[in-house]
């Protein structure tokens, strides 16, 4: 089956990101494809390019990146949630006159329409709330 996950909890504050990641890693082993993960509300902090957690703790942004590299999972970040929280890719940083950027591929800033589209396209959409 084709799966999509919606992650709304903040990394390192709530368990949502860890729960979602654990679920994501179990999917391929049961023969499923994880199409996309959509980060919404405080979940967008999962895309922070400059995240530098202590070495003995899970590095969530890196773990999502690895998921993308291994399985081609799209990492979609709600642009409205992201801009409010200072998470900008190069293009948005330039557009808003900011020095430096805080989001980079494979994370993509995108609109809520993509979430609706995921719900339509995937067989299952599982939400991990705060």
């Amino acid at each position: 089956m084709r799966y999509a996950l919606l992650v709304q909890g903040a990394p390192y504050s709530q368990q949502a990101s860890h729960s979602a990641l654990r679920f994501a890693m179990a999917l391929p082993e049961r023969g499923h494809r994880l199409d996309s993960v959509f980060f919404y509300h405080d979940g967008v902090y999962n895309a922070a390019r400059l995240a530098a957690p202590p070495q003995d703790e899970p590095h969530l942004p890196d773990a999502w990146r690895e998921l993308h590299e291994r399985h081609g999972t799209e990492l979609l970040v709600c642009i409205a949630s992201a801009l409010r929280r200072g998470l900008l890719d190069e293009r948005e940083a330039a557009r808003h006159g900011k020095e430096g950027h805080s989001v980079e591929p494979p994370f993509e800033l995108t609109g809520l329409g993509q979430l609706i589209e995921l719900g339509r396209r995937c067989d299952r959409l599982v939400t991990f709330p705060p």
């Binding site: 729960s19 654990r22 179990a26 599982v126």
Partner: protein, 96 residues
Amino acid sequence: MILHILNRSPGGSLVYRDALASMGPDDRLLLIEDGVQGALPAQVRHFEPVLDRLFALREDLVSRGLEGRCDEAVQVVDVDGFVELTEEADKTVSWF
């Protein structure tokens, strides 16, 4: 059949009441994160109407030192079992 997923303990949030009220006769309820506390004998009575359809996530029980302490009516599943529950359901609803 809908799989309802609850991540709040009945001791700390009343959202479980909304979840129970919205459940159809075949729907299932999976307790995850702090929600697994609802699987303990002292709290499981809150889930009386769905005791035959009540699941708890093993990994979250283990991380809270609660494995082996669930009420015997509760079916404990690991993350593979969680995925399987989503396969069997038409869709999932998360309560928080």
